[in-house]
Structures are given as structure tokens and as C-alpha cells.
Amino acid sequence: MDTFLGAGNTWCDYLGVIVIYTLLFVCIRAPWPTIELNWRVNFRVLAICWFIMMFTGNYLFYLLGVMSFLPWFNNLLHTSLWIGIVLTWLYHGVHKHSLIEQFILFAGYSFIVKMAESMMLGSWMKESFYFFHGRYAYLIAMSIVDGFYPLISIFVLRIAKKFVRGVVID
């Protein structure tokens, strides 16, 4: 169970994480309660792509030593619910804003979630990140990486448009 839930973690801890996701989702969803009809294919494409990319990426980067190990269930929830659904919802709402604004929003929200997961599940812990030391260095670095979600999404959608009917570049 250690690699699945993480050492010492219980299902209750995960329930707590889901509560945090839900609260943030409520805030993110408030200004954009529904996904615009013409954006629903985009939403599905992005949610699936990000889930696959991040789920495998997190593990590969762990193997490469760049990231700390994410327990499998933590990885699953984080990449499917948080990145796949909640962050894609956020992207739907703000994708027309300036890239800087989007970067700050994505990095900021990611930091909150990673912080919560690290406190509740003990994940996202690394003593240092390259030249930067201290508990927060890794957390901040990983959040900054998430700040690039919007930029990468543009490319994902451009590529997907060639293969999937209904993808809209707006």
C-alpha cells in the first residue's frame, strides 16, 4: 500500500485532498459555471492529454531523478481530477487573458494544491531542487512548471485540431 497510497496515508487523507480540490473547483467554476458548447471538444481533448502526459510524466521524471515519487493514487487524483478537470476548467475561463495573467493563476493555484497535498499526504517533498535548497524550493519549482499549462495547451490544441473534429482555436 505504501507506493499506492503513500507511507502512512489513509483513504481519509485522500478524502481531505478531494475536499480541497472541490473547494478550489467551486471558486474556479463560479465565474464560468458551464463549459461553452463550442469548447467542449477542447475540454475533453485537453483533459485527456494532460492526464496522460502528467500521469506518465510524473513517473518518468521521478525515474530520472527530477521529481520526488508521487504515490500512485496521489498521481492519479492529481493528474485526472486536479489537472485534467479543474485546471482545464480554469483554462476554459481564462484562455483569452494575457499569458502572464494565466501563468500567475496556474502557478498560484498549483502551489496551493501542492502545498495541501504535501501537508496531508507527505508528497511533493524534496530537500532541494537543483541549486535551490529548502522545503519550498521544490514546491515552488513544480508550481512554476504548472504555470506553463496555458502555453503548452495552445500547442496541444493546435496539434489535436489536425486529428480531432470540433477542436477550436480561439
Partner: protein
């Protein structure tokens, strides 16, 4: 003389048998509670200490003996002693609540046995279930017996009693009423059972609340009060307290809504009854002395049959079309005309039913149900603002007054102003389109085509007053209205459908003509509400429709045009998740009426409903139009309460009425929320309120100048002004629009047109921003309100849109 009692219904007999069984059971139980206290019980009963507790035995014996007594008496005659049954039911409910409270919070929950483990509250749970079953069955039998005895079609017995109780005091005054409160309530029950509106259940809520509301101030339920007490109670709580604003606003809103709806339903029950007509001096058209003469005055208008499909004629769950238009009203019909003429196949999908004009009658309620349905019950979320819309094939044009005003040039300028909403319309093309439409629908100045004597007689007073006040000089415009009406014979039923085909509605003219000339290129499906659109990316692929029966179909098309009218079009977009701006920037031509009482009989009902107008220039922000209705409609707009209202209705044939229309600011919004899933949020601004007040004062002065004895605004508190000086104090007594009855038949906006996708829902090509094949074209795309009757503008834009949509096809 005693009224012979009708035999008991089977449901009443069943109730009587059940009560007898209960009486026997309770009698035995009385002994069963008493005896353990006075004899020695076997040892096995030892754990159940309470059984021998004298206090417990005493209380239980008294309670159950009382139940036995009441049920014995009630069983003897369930009608005569119905109150006893009510007492047993209420007492059972109280006992259940007490037991549940004890189960949840009892401090002394002692152990009765250890094997199995049982606490005293476990026994209570058993008794809650057992007593609950007994009381539940009793309640069920009682309600069905009541319903069967009262022979109710729609309301529950309690709601019916409340309705009757309100009717008894709401319709009363000098002289006896023609029909009893019981008959009024029965009329309403029957009307509502036939009423084709999904949201009519709200009326049940209203009467349930009316019945129990007095309990909150420690009064008996409304129908249990004596007539005098009830009248005093309603006057105090629902009238004085509301006008004096001595309660929090959210309660005031709620109370105003309850009383407005309940008294309006009572008025419907009374004034729609043909037996009442003579008493108020009203003659239905078919009984007027010159009926034959008028009917024969002009030759019967020939008409082409309109072929409309309904659920039965559509097999399967899919239907395909080239261009699917949602709605069949002003915009949809003109779009169909333009598109079919250019060779396209068009399908109209209409949520309302198709009623040929041969089905139209003089019965107001019947026609409101058929032609408006839910469109008659639309209210803003604070229940203070009513929004009327037609809901039938032909849309609001079937029920409108056909009054035609051009799109005011200053409004068009505002719409296309690049610094404003920047609608991007071509002004010359819009004007050309307007000229075309006016010819197409035969817009005429009314006096040319109707005899002057067929105009609303109250309107003549209005014109007299205009002259007396010197308002007839330019630049003001006034006179008889311009309308798409030909050979009007003045029956006065425009708002419930013109059975004579003189009002050239879409149902009667454009749709059948297009269908006939289009050779199969125009199809219409009725009774099918489009719920939402489905799509992939920027393409809408299908409209999901639902028939009245609940059956759903998918309508596939190359192009979709949403023409469901303001409010509904926004709702469809919102349900589909289309456009974040949908539902916003909604506005109305807000209307309020002023009634004028004359000494002599003028029979305002005997002529074209809206026949005269005044448009002051330079614009003061409003127009005034004369307006009069058959009794049911008129009674709902008649000023006054209780005896004042009754008295005013008694002089129905001596009254004239003017409506003031002001184009509101676009500060309203429609959302998917609230009780009916279409919440209209609207609070008139101070500017709108001031315009209305000024308009009402001017209209009042015009009638006074024409010799009216008094004028009465349609305000919540009743005021009657007999001079211009007195009327000038209107601003002092009316504080805001909650003091005034306001409503509209002209909602506009909600999906406004703007080149800017951040502001508008559609662009100048009527295409929804971000979609390739979805268009909106109806009153909802107006960037701001017009301030004049909108149908010509709706049609103008539809004709304009048709050419651009056709070009793209």
C-alpha cells in the same frame, strides 16, 4: 330552507369504515392502557416498568380515549364532523413530532432488556412507525374523501378552501355578487385543470401559503376565520402593512406576490363567468345588437390552410431539415418568408400548440390557456412584474394588438454607434427592410380600414382630452394607431386572438402564404419545445426537442436560427452552454395603466383594444396608448381592493383606460434558476419609475380634461384622483415601482447584438459569436429597448437577417 345533502361518495364511505375500525381499536387500546395500572402483571412484563406507572397510564388513557371518542363521532358522519377528523390528524402529527424529539434527545433513555438489547426509545421508534402508518392512512383516506366530495379537478381540498375564503372577501361590495364564492372557486379550479401551462403549480403553492400564513401570527388558518375577521386580517396584513412597509422587504415581496396572485385568480373565476356580464354592463360581441351587421360589413377574409405537424405525425427520434428555426412568432415567420423565397427548406419548431382561428372563442380563460400557456404566468423573481408572451403557432403576433411603430431613428443611431454597443447594422438596409416588411404585413393607419365607430370608444375620450390640453400640436404625434389590421369590426378581443382574421397575424397571413407558395419548403412542428442545442466545436449539430408528452426528438439541420423570443431564446442558449453573455442586458417596454371613470356609459370594450396613442415630442421617454379589455383581463388590471375593486368593476362600461409604456434600461437578466428554471431578475431604475409616473400623470390629466370624474392609477394602494391638482401629488404617494402594478408584453434584449464578442451574443450577421451555423434573430437581439411597440422592428431585423443568412447558405 336546508340544502339537501348529496349521497356519500365511495371514498367517504371508505373513510367512514376506516374511522369505525379506528374507533374500535382506540376503545380497546383505552382499556389496554388502563388495566395494567390496576392489576398485577405477569413477571415477563417486569422490564416494562412504564406500563404500571400511574402517570403514564393516566396520560395514555386520556389521549387514546379522546381519539376513540373523536373517531366514533366522526365515523357517524364524515361530512358533518370533518373537523373531528382534522383534530385526530393534527393530534397524531403532534404526537409523532413529540415522539421523534424524545427519540433524538431523551435524557432518561433507560435500558429495558439486555437480551436482546432494548432501550425505551426503541419502543418509541416502534410506536412512531405504527402510529405514523395509522395516521398516514387516515390522512390519505381523508384527502381522497374530501376531493371526491368537493369534486375537485385541480386544487387540493385545503387549497380550494383557501381560494374560496379569499374569493368570499375579495369579490364583495355593495349589492349581492352574482355567483357565490364556492362557484368562483370552482370556476378557478376548472380553469386551472385545463390550463396548458407547466408552471401553474405555483398557484397551488400560493393557496397553500394563504391558508397557513395566518398561523404565523397565531391566527387560525384563513378559511377557518369568520368572514369579517378574514377581511380585516387580509386588509391589515396584506394591504396596510405592505403599503406602510412595516416589514422586512423579503417578507413584503412574498406577501405582495401571494395576495396579487390569489386575488387575480378570484377575479378570473368571477369575471370570466358569463352570468356576471349583465351585472357589470358587458355584452360579449356575439350578443351585441349590431353583431350581424358588423360581421356582414366586410366580406369574409379568405385564408389558406396552414399545415402543421404534431407529435403523432413524426415517427422516430430524429428529424432533418436544411434550416431549422426555433419558434414561429414574428421573427421566425418573417425569416421563413425570406428564406423560402430564396429557395431554402425551412422547418419551424414551436413549443405552443397550433390553433386555427376557427377555434378562437370569446372565452378569455380558454384562449389565454391556448394561446399564452406559460407565457401568461411569467413573473420576475420578485413577483412584481409580469411578462406576457404568446405561445402558439404564430407566437405573440396571434395575441398582440398589431400596433405598429417604426424603429425610432434615434434608437437605431444608438444601436450602430461604434462607441456604444456597435451593432454593426447597415442603417440604409435596415430602413429598406422596414419598408418592405410594412408592405408585406399590410401596415395601415387604422381609421382608413376600420370604421371609426369600431375603435375603442374610450380612445375618443382620450383624443378629446388631448385637444382640450392643447397637446395636438406638432411635434407631438397622436391619433389612431397604425397597425397590420384590415377591416376591423371592433369586437375587442385582439389579445385573445382575432377570430375574424382582421388582425393580420403570422398565423393568418405570412405563414400560410409562405407555405402555399413555397411548395413544401416550409414545414412546421408544433407542441415541441426546443430544450437545447448540441454540437461539436463551432458547429451546432442538433436541437433537442421535447413534445408535450415528454417524448424527445433530435432535429438535425445545416443551420439553426433561434427565434424563440426574448427570454426563451436566452434560456435555450443558457441551457446549451452557449455564450457567457446570454440572458444579460435584458430590458422591457414597461407598462402601467391608469383608469378613468366617466359619468356616462362609454362601453370601451366595444371596439379595437388599442386604438389611439400619444407620443410627446421631444421625447419624454414614454408613449401613451388607450387600452381596454374584456372583463376578465380588465379586472386583473383594475385598481382597487375588495369593495373598491368590486365597485369599479360595476362601472366597467363607464371606464376608459390608458397604458403608459416606457423603454426600460437594459438592467434585467434572465437566468436558469428559481422555481421555474427561468428566473427574470428585474428592478426598474429610478429613471424608468419617473418616466412611468410622468406618463401616468399626463394620461390622467388627458382623461380629466375629457370630462372624467376621476382617474385611478393601477397602484398597490388604491388612489382615486378627481382633479389635476390632486393628481400632481402622485409622486408623493408612490415611492417606487413596488407601489405600482407594472408589466410588459414587450421583452427585448438578453442576446444583444454587438460586433464586440465580449459584450454581445450575436454579431451583425446574427450569428452567435464563436459558432458557424447558429443564429439568433428575434426581440432578444435588440441592443437596447425601443420605447415603442416592437413587432415592426422584430420583423425588420428578421427580414434583414434572412437575406444575409440566405447569402451564406
Amino acid at each position: 330552507m336546508s340544502v339537501p345533502m348529496t349521497p356519500f361518495t365511495p371514498q367517504e364511505k371508505r373513510l367512514s369504515i376506516y374511522l369505525k375500525a379506528l374507533a374500535v381499536f382506540y376503545s380497546v387500546a383505552t382499556l389496554a392502557y388502563l388495566i395494567p395500572g390496576i392489576i398485577s402483571l405477569p413477571a415477563s412484563f417486569a422490564p416494562y416498568r412504564f406500563l404500571t406507572d400511574p402517570a403514564y397510564d393516566n396520560n395514555s388513557t386520556v389521549k387514546i380515549a379522546l381519539f376513540a371518542l373523536l373517531t366514533w363521532i366522526a365515523a357517524a358522519n364524515v361530512r358533518k364532523y370533518r373537523e373531528m377528523i382534522v383534530v385526530v390528524i393534527v393530534a397524531s402529527i403532534v404526537a409523532e413530532i413529540a415522539s421523534i424529539t424524545l427519540v433524538l434527545f431523551a435524557k432518561n433513555n433507560y435500558l429495558i432488556s439486555t437480551n436482546p438489547v432494548m432501550y425505551v426509545t426503541d419502543i418509541l421508534v416502534g410506536s412512531i412507525i405504527f402510529d405514523g402508518l395509522i395516521a398516514g392512512v387516515l390522512l390519505g383516506f381523508f384527502l381522497s374523501a374530501e376531493r371526491s366530495r368537493l369534486n375537485l379537478l385541480y386544487f387540493s381540498p385545503m387549497q380550494f378552501r383557501a381560494l374560496k375564503a379569499v374569493a368570499e372577501v375579495a369579490i364583495d361590495g355593495e349589492g349581492a355578487t352574482v355567483i357565490s364564492a364556492e362557484q368562483i372557486a370552482r370556476n378557478v379550479d376548472e380553469y386551472l385543470s385545463n390550463f396548458e401551462a407547466k408552471s401553474k403549480w405555483i398557484t397551488k403553492v400560493v393557496f397553500t401559503m394563504m391558508q397557513i400564513f395566518p398561523l404565523f401570527s397565531f391566527n387560525p388558518p384563513l378559511s377557518y376565520m369568520s368572514r369579517e375577521k378574514r377581511l380585516a386580517y387580509l386588509k391589515k396584513r396584506f394591504y396596510q402593512d405592505v403599503t406602510l412597509r412595516i416589514m422586512p422587504e423579503f417578507i413584503r415581496v412574498f406577501i405582495q406576490a401571494m395576495i396579487r396572485m390569489s386575488k387575480q385568480l378570484c377575479y378570473m373565476g368571477y369575471y370570466n363567468d358569463t352570468r356576471v356580464f349583465d351585472a357589470i354592463g358587458y355584452k360579449p360581441f356575439s350578443r351585441r345588437s349590431d353583431y350581424d351587421e358588423r360581421i356582414n360589413l366586410y366580406p369574409e377574409v379568405p385564408r389558406k390552410n396552414l399545415i402543421v405537424m404534431d407529435e403523432g405525425s413524426i415517427p422516430g427520434d430524429e428529424f432533418s431539415a436544411e434550416i431549422a428555426i426555433v419558434g414561429s412568432g414574428a421573427a421566425a415567420s418573417i425569416l421563413a418568408h425570406g428564406l423560402v423565397e430564396r429557395g431554402h427548406h425551412v422547418l419551424l419548431i414551436e413549443r405552443g400548440k397550433h390553433h386555427d382561428r376557427s377555434e378562437f372563442t370569446e372565452n378569455e380563460i380558454e384562449m389565454v390557456s391556448k394561446l399564452y400557456a406559460d407565457g401568461a404566468l411569467q413573473m420576475a423573481s420578485d413577483f412584481r412584474f409580469q411578462v406576457f408572451q404568446g405561445s402558439c403557432v404564430g407566437g405573440s403576433t396571434v395575441v398582440n394588438n398589431a400596433v405598429c411603430f417604426d424603429l425610432p431613428p434615434e434608437v437605431l443611431d444608438r444601436w450602430v454607434d461604434p462607441r456604444g454597443l456597435n451593432a454593426g447594422l447597415s442603417t440604409p438596409d435596415v430602413i429598406a427592410s422596414m419598408d418592405f416588411v410594412k408592405k408585406l404585413i399590410h401596415v395601415n393607419a387604422v381609421p382608413l380600414l376600420a370604421l371609426d365607430k369600431h375603435l375603442n370608444p374610450g380612445g375618443r375620450k382620450f383624443i378629446q382630452g388631448i385637444h382640450a390640453l392643447g397637446l395636438h400640436s406638432t411635434p407631438n404625434t397622436y391619433g389612431s394607431v397604425v397597425a397590420n389590421i384590415e377591416h376591423c369590426i371592433g369586437c375587442g378581443y385582439c389579445n385573445i386572438g382575432c377570430q375574424f382574421g382582421r388582425k393580420l397575424s403570422m398565423l393568418d397571413t405570412v405563414l400560410p402564404t409562405v407555405q402555399a407558395s413555397g411548395k413544401g419548403k416550409l414545414e412546421i412542428i408544433a407542441s415541441c419545445e426546443v430544450l437545447k442545442f448540441e454540437g461539436t466545436g463551432e458547429n451546432v449539430t442538433a436541437a433537442l426537442g421535447e413534445f408535450t408528452s415528454g417524448r424527445r426528438i433530435k432535429i438535425k439541420a445545416d443551420k439553426f436560427i433561434l427565434s424563440a423570443g426574448a427570454i426563451s431564446s436566452s434560456i435555450v442558449l443558457l441551457r446549451s452552454g452557449i455564450s457567457k453573455n446570454a440572458g444579460k442586458r435584458l430590458g422591457f417596454n414597461v407598462g402601467s395603466q391608469i383608469t378613468a371613470a366617466f359619468a356616462e356609459r362609454i362601453d370601451s370594450y366595444d371596439g379595437l383594444q388599442i386604438s389611439h396613442y400619444l407620443k410627446p415630442s421631444p421625447s419624454r421617454g414614454y408613449v401613451i396608448e388607450t387600452w381596454y379589455n374584456p372583463p376578465m383581463f380588465q379586472s386583473t388590471a383594475m385598481p382597487g381592493w375588495f369593495e373598491d375593486h368590486y365597485r369599479n368593476m360595476l362601472r366597467y362600461n363607464k371606464l376608459a383606460c390608458g397604458g403608459v409604456l416606457t423603454g426600460s434600461e437594459s438592467n434585467a437578466e434572465v437566468r436558469i434558476a428559481g422555481l421555474t428554471g427561468r428566473e427574470i431578475r428585474y428592478t426598474p431604475t429610478q429613471r424608468d419609475f419617473t418616466n412611468l409616473l410622468e406618463g401616468l400623470k399626463l394620461a390622467g390629466n388627458i382623461f380629466l380634461a375629457a370630462g372624467a370624474e376621476s382617474v385611478m392609477p393601477n397602484s398597490f394602494k388604491y388612489y382615486e384622483f378627481d382633479s389635476s391638482l390632486a393628481l400632481s401629488g402622485l409622486n408623493d404617494v408612490l415611492k417606487d415601482t413596488s407601489d405600482l402594478s407594472i408589466g410588459t408584453g414587450h421583452p427585448q434584449g438578453g442576446n444583444v447584438m454587438s460586433k464586440d464578442a465580449n459584450v454581445g451574443v450575436v454579431g451583425p450577421d446574427f450569428k452567435v459569436h464563436g459558432y458557424k451555423n447558429l443564429y439568433v434573430c428575434d426581440a432578444s437581439v435588440f441592443p437596447s429597448t425601443l420605447g415603442v411597440n416592437p413587432q415592426i422592428t422584430v420583423m425588420t431585423l428578421a427580414n434583414y437577417a434572412a437575406s444575409s443568412i440566405a447569402q451564406e447558405a
